[in-house]
């Protein structure tokens, strides 16, 4: 399978990255090349092999169901490009 311009535009849109036609023309062969190289994985016989979920055996801990954090509104908003009235602000989404 080869990565064409339409595929690059589609995945860039899924990844929310604006991309120009010039960039698409440059990136499509690069991705095609990289994905072609990656495709050698298909030759490995993985019959009966479980996909890796944890490299080091470890159990997910449960903590007590109590409030451990909070009251940090100003700290949370401190790095926002734009914040008003204690909220993050974004362009209008509902007319």
């Amino acid at each position: 399978m080869s990565v064409d311009a339409a595929t690059v535009k589609k995945i860039a849109s899924l990844a929310r990255i604006a991309i120009t036609d010039e960039e698409v023309a440059k990136i499509a062969p690069e991705l095609d090349n990289i994905l072609g190289w990656i495709e050698q994985l298909g030759e490995v016989d993985c019959t009966g092999v479980e996909p890796m979920t944890a490299v080091i055996a470890n159990t997910l801990r449960l903590r007590d169901d109590v409030v451990t954090d909070g009251g940090k509104r100003d700290a949370v908003l401190a790095n926002a490009p734009q914040a008003e009235h204690g909220f993050f602000t974004v362009p209008k989404v509902i007319e």
């Binding site: 849109s13 990844a15 929310r16 604006a18 994985l41 949370v76 790095n79 490009p81 974004v90 362009p91």
Partner: protein, 494 residues
């Protein structure tokens, strides 16, 4: 008097304890060295006040007759991937330029609690994606090393922890933090003639480290010798409830446990690591390393890791897949850059922000990750890669039936010139061929300087251990270090 910047972590710590010099003298010496080395572009932010405050505290504690903290009097460099409260933490990216965290990463907090001071934030490949430090938004780090061939071609310090490696080799700091996802501590250590260890996955908390590929990311120390790495790693490691994959284990006393005798140890030499096109000098250094560990008492055995050739392609599915998910958070809303073209809606804002904020390599990896995770391809790519990862981990488990540690070169070449590989992503990726398999298996692995090539550039040897056997890894590297007697250092041309 000795130049204090020539001393490592152990000597600085012990010298301050003994009163041979003050912590303030140490901090001042390194602050001056950093300020004179701007040409290397290793530091993104300099924080002399932080280093001086820690030094004053150490000197005051000593004057009051108190027991000094484990790293009192030792100023260090902090990779820009670690969030440091009130100090820009940008992962060397544009999208996080100006981001000053309201919190401190667990690993950096542990270092400050142990008395260390911060000289500044170190340049790196953007979001830790790169092997040469050429993907930083803030410019390349220049290695302090130069080829002894009459030319002055600027060389790569390795990556992604290139600011860390360059600044330690140039004596701008005695030690620094690094992070390693596929070799980002070990390869830059090898390129610059220093030591660096990636511990077992889960030893160091990932909390507050800007995420790249969460199932692979591990912090670790870089320093000029094995003992200094052991000292740093003891402070950096330990359980953290804030990281769900943190290992709930006591931190061993690695420094006290150091032992350069390898009597009774079996060291495996993986035959699949003899790759085509490997320079003869690296082959020769590897053989030299084999002789050194034999001299230290180890038995050397050949082992097979049959799935080695599939480690890199598996890594270049798994790491971009995780990166595409982790980097989805940079949306121009909560922190960092916002690009809002005239009349743009919310979706346009996301796309414009991410287009402007991410560099070419980061975009490339997000796109690969998005592609391999997209509907219809998930099983063929991602699930298959995770199955291959199981086979790679199993290869190591089988090897441990006949050996205790593995010895390999760290990288397939010495440092290359800046620009030499940046046009070909796959050529760059192949630089991590010896470091990626142990990352995929979560194993501890360390690079230690072995010698110089014919143009005077450092080459490293790598020791890989069983999960949680950092002590075995450190010991074998110490045995190599003692025999290699590596004393070379770059001329201070900057």
């Amino acid at each position: 008097m000795t130049d204090l910047t020539d001393l490592g972590v152990r000597d600085l710590r012990d010298g301050v304890r003994a009163g041979t010099f003050s912590a303030r003298e140490v901090a001042d010496s390194f602050i001056v060295a950093v300020s004179k080395a701007k040409q290397l572009n290793a530091f993104l932010v300099e924080t002399p006040d932080h280093a001086i405050a820690a030094a004053k505290e150490a000197d005051a504690a000593r004057a009051a007759g108190e027991t000094l903290k484990p790293l009192a009097g030792v100023p260090i460099g902090m990779k820009d991937l670690f969030c440091t409260k009130g100090v820009q933490s940008a992962a060397a990216s544009h999208i996080l330029e100006g981001f000053k965290p309201e919190y401190e990463s667990t690993v950096s907090q542990k270092l400050w609690d142990a008395g260390a001071g911060m000289l500044g934030k170190l340049n790196m490949d953007q979001f830790a994606m790169g092997s040469s430090n050429e993907t930083s938004y803030f410019g390349d780090v220049i290695s302090p090393w130069r080829r002894a061939d009459g030319g002055n071609a600027p060389l790569a310090p390795g990556g992604s922890s290139g600011g860390s490696s360059a600044s330690i080799a140039a004596r701008l700091c005695p030690a620094a933090t690094g992070t390693d996802t596929g070799g980002s501590i070990r390869q830059p250590a090898a390129f610059t003639g220093i030591a660096g260890i990636k511990p077992t996955y889960g030893r160091c908390s990932r909390w507050g480290i800007i995420a790249f590929a969460s199932s692979l990311d591990q912090a670790g120390p870089m320093a000029r010798d094995v003992r200094d790495c052991a000292i740093m790693l003891e402070t950096m490691s330990g359980f953290d409830a804030k990281d769900s994959t943190s290992l709930q284990l006591d931190v061993p006393k690695w420094e006290a446990g150091l032992n350069a005798s390898l009597a009774g140890k079996r060291i495996g030499i993986p035959k699949e690591y003899r790759v085509d096109g490997m320079p003869a000098e690296i082959e020769a250094l590897w053989q030299q390393g084999i002789d050194w560990v034999k001299d230290a008492g180890a038995d050397v055995v050949e082992v097979s890791l049959p799935h080695t050739k599939y480690a890199l392609p598996a890594y270049y599915i798994i790491a971009p897949a995780e990166a595409s998910s982790n980097l989805a958070r940079y949306d121009g809303v909560r922190y960092g850059l916002r690009e809002l073209p005239e009349g743009a809606n919310l979706q346009d804002m996301y796309a414009a922000t991410r287009a402007a904020g991410f560099g070419a390599e980061v975009k490339r990896r997000i796109l690969i990750g998005t592609y391999v995770l997209s509907a219809g391809f998930y099983d063929a790519y991602y699930t298959q890669a995770q199955k291959v990862r199981t086979l790679i981990a199993r290869d190591f488990d089988r090897a441990w039936e006949t050996c205790d540690l593995l010895l390999t070169p760290t990288a397939p070449s010495a440092a290359f010139a800046l620009g030499e590989k940046s046009a070909d992503p796959i050529a760059m990726y192949l630089n991590d061929v010896f470091t990626v398999p142990s990352s995929l298996a979560g194993l501890p692995a360390m690079s230690v300087p072995g010698g110089l090539d014919k143009v005077g550039l450092p080459l490293g040897l790598q020791v890989i251990g069983k999960a949680l056997d950092e002590q075995g890894v450190l010991d074998a590297c110490l045995a190599i270090e003692e025999r290699a007697g590596f004393k070379a250092r770059p001329d201070a041309w900057w």
